[in-house]
């Protein structure tokens, strides 16, 4: 496979093009298709050029009048339609699959919303550019192919392949949906999916914790107290003991509820920020934890929340799995990133593989363009660094 077409690139939308067979002197099916494409270039491009020039010139020329902008918007919508037809031709004759661009996005509803969105639609303008620059190329390909068909047909397969490849590149460049904005939108949509998923998982966890923890304790407590009430007259001593047990039980239920509520969102995080909120999770860890926070201000609430949650999860790991004797949490700002580092002197071997708690954390961080780096050789020490974008707070929460 040494022909120039063998390295067909993979598209951002994941669809692979049909593989091209190598060029042979005997005319293969693909060569005939390419020739057909090159010959149809001329009428198609003439039509496209005339359409673009007429509608855009009319639309902009009449922009001062009432019908100017609507005409321009209609013309651009037509460019989208023409682009779709052109993508079909390219796919049928050149075997290039190009994903459909996103539909027109309107910030506001109604006629003016459509008008504004259509006029500034980047996809339509790129399509217009495509048809505008194609005319001279269409004339060249038409002429050369025609001439080669009659006088240079032994060389035609190679010439056709070369010109068809130029066509392929042009179509991919200007008719594809893959501009920066479109890609970013697709990315954000998948991030939003992850956020929604983790939120749902959190709700399930809270429900389960309530059900298995405090709720069960309260049921047991109600039972104990009911029994004690019956014993009160006949056996006051047993009753007193039972009330004592119930008292202990209710204190445990309170502690569990407190932990649960704090796990959802600690009030001090909202009031005083990350530095203050880290104290209590550090104190809760089973090993001594040194906390050093060096922040010039407070980042956006969402970033603070994720940083807190990350530190909390990492310290829980230290308590449960590391076998460490001490740990530390460092938080600092580096340019436009918020850095969080948790290290411990435990046995190491923590892995961020799929399915682990660390993988879940990495996914959450990814949803806000954050990164999780795990360095945990067997035998320790373990250093986990989280990097989040520093977004400024939208408003200052009292002082």
């Amino acid at each position: 496979m040494s022909t120039p077409a063998s390295g067909t690139p993979q598209h951002p939308d994941g669809e692979a093009d049909d593989p091209l067979p190598p060029v042979r002197a005997t005319f293969a099916k693909e060569t005939w298709k390419e020739v057909a494409h090159l010959l149809t270039n001329f009428p198609v491009d003439v039509f496209g050029f005339v359409y673009v020039v007429v509608t855009l010139a009319l639309g902009t020329g009449l922009a001062v009048t009432v019908i100017g902008l609507p005409l321009l918007a209609l013309g651009l919508s037509g460019c989208r339609l023409a682009g779709r037809l052109e993508r079909r031709r390219v796919r049928a004759l050149l075997g290039v699959r190009i994903g459909e661009p996103r539909r027109l996005r309107m910030d506001r509803l109604g006629f003016f919303g459509w008008l504004w969105a259509a006029v500034k639609d980047p996809v339509a303008w790129r399509h217009a550019l495509y048809f505008f620059v194609r005319l001279p190329w269409g004339i060249v390909t038409f002429t050369v192919t025609l001439v080669m068909l009659f006088v240079g047909w032994p060389l035609l397969p190679w010439v056709a392949r070369g010109m068809a490849n130029a066509d392929r590149a042009m179509a991919r460049g200007l008719l594809s949906p893959s501009d920066e904005l479109e890609r970013r939108i697709a990315e954000l949509e998948s991030d939003r999916g992850i956020v929604v998923d983790t939120a749902a998982a959190d709700l399930r966890r809270i429900e389960r914790d309530l059900h298995d923890g405090a709720q069960a304790r309260l049921v047991a407590l109600a039972m104990d107290l009911g029994l004690a009430k019956e014993k009160l007259l006949e056996d006051p001593e047993t009753a007193a003991r039972m009330v004592g047990d119930a008292h202990g039980e209710v204190k445990l239920a309170l502690a569990e509820l407190r932990d649960l509520a704090r796990g959802i969102h600690p009030a001090v995080l909202t009031d005083r920020g990350l530095d203050a909120a880290l104290s209590s999770i550090a104190a809760r860890c089973t090993v001594p934890v040194r906390v050093v926070a060096d922040l010039p201000g407070r980042p956006a609430a969402a970033i603070e929340g994720i940083a807190y949650f990350t530190a909390s999860e990492l310290l829980t790991n230290v308590s449960k799995h590391s076998g460490a004797r001490s740990a530390s949490v460092d938080v600092w700002r580096s340019d436009d990133r918020l850095m969080l580092q948790v290290r411990d002197d435990g046995r190491g071997g923590a892995s961020p593989d799929a399915g682990s708690g660390l993988a879940g954390l990495a996914e959450r961080l990814d949803a806000v363009d954050g990164v999780l780096v795990v360095d945990s050789p067997l035998g320790g020490p373990t250093v986990v660094t989280a990097e989040l974008p520093w977004r400024e707070r939208e408003f200052d929460h009292h002082g």
């Binding site: 009030a267 001090v268 009031d271 005083r272 104290s279 104190a283 040194r290 906390v291 009292h398």
Partner: protein
């Protein structure tokens, strides 16, 4: 310490306010007023002070209307500044080292900061109210644990024996030597020896008076 103390309660939950009132009056203390938010608390204290009837202690919730964040702490800091003789005991669903530091700024005289759950242990809780009313200190064990954890003096703290760490914790909670001795089931003399050892190891001048001692320890941990 068995005298009846005069208390003002600031707590937005009526259920808890009534419960606290019942609990304190049952133990022979007088609840002068019960209010539902920080504004009302400040107004009530000003009114009582003007009438020359300043209470001994205020028991205030941290989260109260209108913002349900830290109104109680801010009201407490203000009351301590305006009325140094007034004891302030702050109750909270969660205790935070940061709020404790704000409350203790300047002095640890007549200040308390406890988890709300502690009211379940009635005797301990009422003792804390009386202690704060008399100018003592009552810090929640959980706050003390956080302060110890956040302290930059980990090297020195690591030099303490486990027993000394225990004594240091109880001391920081605001307990007297005899209370520490009771808690650990040792003699008063043993506690005194531990305390002087701790002060020696931390490099602090042994101070007289329990609340001064608390302040010295807390300053040390926070520095």
């Amino acid at each position: 310490m068995v005298d009846s103390v005069r208390v003002v309660i600031a707590e937005d939950s009526v259920l808890l306010r009534d419960g606290l009132t019942r609990l304190l009056t049952d133990r022979g203390h007088e609840v002068v007023a019960g209010v539902g938010d920080a504004e009302a608390l400040l107004a009530e204290i000003e009114r009582l002070a003007a009438a020359g009837e300043l209470p001994d202690v205020v028991v205030a919730d941290v989260r109260m209307p209108p913002t349900h964040t830290d109104e109680g702490v801010r009201a407490a800091v203000r009351l301590r500044k305006d009325h140094p003789a007034l004891g302030v005991l702050v109750l909270s669903q969660y205790v935070e080292e940061r709020y404790a530091t704000e409350l203790l700024a300047g002095s640890s005289r007549g200040v308390g900061y406890l988890l709300k759950d502690r009211v379940a242990d009635v005797r301990e809780f009422v003792d804390a109210v009386v202690r704060v009313a008399a100018g003592g200190t009552a810090l929640d064990p959980e706050v003390v644990a956080q302060l110890l954890g956040r302290s930059r003096k980990q090297d020195v703290l690591a030099g303490l024996t486990p027993r000394e760490r225990e004594v240091l914790g109880l001391m920081a909670e605001g307990r007297t030597n005899s209370a520490v001795a009771r808690q650990l089931v040792v003699s008063d003399g043993a506690v005194e020896k531990h305390v002087s050892n701790i002060f020696l190891k931390l490099g602090l001048a042994p101070s007289v008076g329990d609340h001064r001692r608390v302040l010295a320890v807390l300053r040390y941990l926070n520095s």
